[in-house]
C-alpha cells in the first residue's frame, strides 16, 4: 500500500546554496507526522517545497500518486495540501473572518470545514471576527492561521512551528484542536522545535539536520539519546 503523501529524494536550493539533500518521507492517511530539528535544519524549506513556494530541484512529491513537485503553489493547494506557514502570515488588511474566508478562495464544492465549525473549534475567533487579524494575540493568530488553512478542506495539513513564541497553556489549547482536525479526514505534518510536544502528538517522528533526515521512527521506539544525537549531531553528545 502506498502512502497518502510520498516524498522521495527531494532536494531544494536557494541560488547556489543547497538546503535539502534527498529527503525521503511518507505520510499515511489518518496519521500525524512530526518533523523536529535545530534552527536551519531545513524544516521550513521542506514545507515550502511541498507547497510549491520553494522550487524543488530534484526528487518527487506524490499525493495519492499524483506528482506535485513541478506544480505551482495554487495548484498544489487545489490538489489538497494546505499550510499554516511559519510566523502565521495573516493578511494585515483582512479581518479575522476575511482571513478565514480567503482560505476557501479556490475551494470547489462543500466539505467538512465551514466558518461555523471553525468558530465552534475556536470560539474566541467568533468574538473577534471583525478585528484585524493581526490585532490578535499570538495564540489567537495561530488559530486563525490554522482555520484559514482548514477552510480549503485539505487532505494534508502542514503546520510549521505552531508553538513558536507561545505560552505552554496556549500551545496545549491549540494542539487540543488536532483530534477534531484528524476526524475531519485531514492528515497532518507538524514541524516542531518543542520535542516533547512533537513526540506527544505524532504517530511518526523524523529528525532533520543540515538538510537531511537523520532519524525516523515511532515515538515509543526512539530513545532520548538517539533523538539528542540526531538533533545536535553525534559529536555534540
Amino acid at each position: 500500500m502506498s502512502a497518502l503523501l510520498e516524498i522521495s529524494g527531494l532536494t531544494a536550493h536557494y541560488g547556489d546554496f543547497q538546503a535539502l539533500f534527498g529527503v525521503d518521507l511518507a505520510l499515511e492517511a489518518g496519521q500525524t507526522v512530526a518533523i523536529i530539528g535545530a534552527n536551519g535544519a531545513g524544516k521550513t524549506t521542506l514545507m515550502r517545497a511541498i507547497t510549491g513556494i520553494a522550487k524543488v530541484t530534484a526528487g518527487s512529491i506524490l499525493l495519492n500518486g499524483a506528482e506535485m513537485s513541478r506544480r505551482a503553489a495554487p495548484d498544489i493547494l487545489t490538489a489538497g495540501i494546505a499550510m499554516v506557514p511559519e510566523g502565521r502570515k495573516l493578511f494585515p488588511s483582512l479581518t479575522v473572518e476575511e482571513n478565514l474566508r480567503i482560505g476557501a478562495h479556490a475551494r470547489q464544492g462543500n466539505g467538512f470545514w465551514t466558518l461555523e465549525r471553525l468558530y465552534t473549534l475556536f470560539p474566541i475567533l467568533r468574538e473577534r471576527r471583525d478585528h484585524p487579524g493581526t490585532a490578535l494575540s499570538g495564540g489567537q493568530q495561530q488559530m486563525v492561521a490554522i482555520g484559514r488553512a482548514l477552510m480549503s478542506n485539505p487532505t494534508v495539513l502542514l503546520c510549521d512551528e505552531l508553538s513558536l513564541g507561545l505560552a505552554p497553556v496556549v500551545i496545549r489549547e491549540i494542539y487540543a484542536a488536532f483530534p477534531t482536525i484528524r476526524e475531519s479526514g485531514t492528515s497532518i505534518i507538524v514541524v516542531e522545535q518543542d520535542i516533547g510536544q512533537a513526540l506527544k502528538v505524532a504517530d511518526h517522528v523524523h529528525c532533520m539536520m543540515e538538510g537531511r533526515v537523520t532519524l525516523s521512527g515511532r515515538p515509543a521506539d526512539l530513545s532520548r539519546e538517539a533523538i539528542h544525537d540526531a538533533y545536535f549531531g553525534v559529536n555534540h553528545a
Binding site: 507547497t51 510549491g52 513556494i53 505551482a72 503553489a73 495554487p74 493547494l77 487545489t78 494546505a82 499550510m83 506557514p85 502570515k89 493578511f91 494585515p92 488588511s93 483582512l94 476575511e98 474566508r101 480567503i102 482560505g103 478562495h105 479556490a106 475551494r107 484559514r148 488553512a149 480549503s152
Partner: protein
C-alpha cells in the same frame, strides 16, 4: 459670491481629476506599480470613444459603454503580456516599460489621428446648467462629479465587500502567502488593470466631453492624477478623491486670480500638502 462659485467649480473639476487618478490609485494599491502610461491610456480611451461614436453613429455616452469592455480587455492583456513580466523587487523596470508604453501610445495616436485636437460631440447637454443654491453649475461638471463619487463608492465596495476585493487586498499584503490560498497573483493583477482601464474610460469620456484633446495631452493628465494619489495617501481611494478635489479647487482659485496661474496653483497645492503631511492626507497604516 464669486469665491463660492469658484470653490464649487473647483470641487466639480476635482471630480474629473479623481477619475483620472482612481485607476492609478487602484493599481498602485494592489501591485505597487506606477503606470506612467496611465494618462496616455485615458487619451487612448477618448479616441476609442470618438472612433466608436463615428463608426456607429452612437452618442458618446453610448459609445463609451461600448468602449468599457474593450478597454477592460486591453488592460487585462497589457498586464498579462507585458507588465506582469517586469513586476518584481526592482521598481525601475516597470517605470521604464510604462514610460516606453507612453511614448508608443502617443506616437500611435499621432499616426492614426494626427495632431489635430478633437472633442467628443455630446450635443446640447454641454450648454445646460442648473441653479444650485446661490450659484449656477453646468450639467456636465455635475455629472462628472457624480460619476467620480459613484466610481469611488463602487471601487470601495469591490475592495471591501467582495471575494475579488478580498483577494486584491490579500495579494497586496503578501503575494507569496496569497498563493498558499490558491490565489494566482498574476491573474489578480490582470483583472485589477482591466478594472483600472474601465475607470480610465469613464475619465476619458468626461475628458473628451469637457475640452479639446490631442495625442500629446496624456502626460499632463498623468501628473494631475499622480498628484491626487499622493495627496490622498498612497492606496486610499477616498484619499484619491480628496486629492482630486484639492487640486481642482486650487486650480480654480488660481485661475480666478489670474488665468495663467491655474496649473501652477494646482502644483503649489500639491507641494503645500506634502510639506504639511508628507505621507498624504489618508496614509495606509501598514505601508
Amino acid at each position: 459670491m464669486i469665491w463660492l462659485d469658484t470653490l464649487i467649480q473647483g470641487i466639480l473639476l476635482g471630480g474629473l481629476y479623481a477619475l483620472f487618478a482612481a485607476g492609478l490609485s487602484l493599481v498602485f494599491g494592489i501591485m505597487r506599480l506606477v503606470n506612467l502610461a496611465h494618462g496616455d491610456l485615458i487619451v487612448l480611451g477618448a479616441y476609442l470613444i470618438l472612433g466608436l461614436g463615428t463608426a456607429t453613429g452612437l452618442h458618446p455616452f453610448l459609445a463609451a459603454a461600448l468602449a468599457l469592455p474593450l478597454m477592460f480587455a486591453l488592460g487585462w492583456a497589457l498586464q498579462s503580456a507585458l507588465l506582469n513580466r517586469v513586476l518584481g523587487d526592482d521598481i525601475l523596470p516597470p517605470l521604464l516599460v510604462t514610460f516606453g508604453l507612453s511614448v508608443v501610445i502617443q506616437n500611435a495616436l499621432l499616426m492614426g489621428f494626427s495632431a489635430d485636437s478633437r472633442k467628443l460631440p455630446i450635443g446640447p447637454i454641454e450648454a445646460q446648467s442648473l441653479p444650485l443654491g446661490p450659484v449656477t453649475v453646468g450639467a456636465m461638471p455635475l455629472i462628472t462629479f457624480g460619476s467620480a463619487i459613484v466610481v469611488i463608492l463602487g471601487l470601495n465596495w469591490l475592495f471591501y465587500h467582495t471575494a475579488l476585493g478580498r483577494a486584491f487586498r490579500a495579494t497586496s499584503d503578501d503575494p507569496v502567502t496569497a498563493q498558499l490560498m490558491g490565489i494566482r497573483p498574476r491573474r489578480i493583477f490582470a483583472v485589477a488593470t482591466g478594472i483600472a482601464m474601465v475607470v480610465a474610460t469613464i475619465a476619458a469620456l468626461y475628458l473628451g466631453a469637457r475640452a479639446n484633446f490631442d495625442p500629446a495631452i496624456g502626460p499632463a493628465r498623468l501628473l494631475y492624477a499622480f498628484e491626487a494619489v499622493i495627496i490622498g495617501g498612497l492606496g486610499s481611494l477616498w484619499g484619491t478623491l480628496a486629492g482630486g478635489l484639492v487640486i481642482g479647487v486650487a486650480q480654480a482659485m488660481g485661475a480666478a486670480i489670474n488665468p495663467e496661474w491655474q496649473i501652477l496653483a494646482g502644483h503649489l497645492a500639491f507641494v503645500a500638502v506634502l510639506l504639511v503631511r508628507p505621507r498624504g492626507l489618508f496614509p495606509r497604516a501598514n505601508d
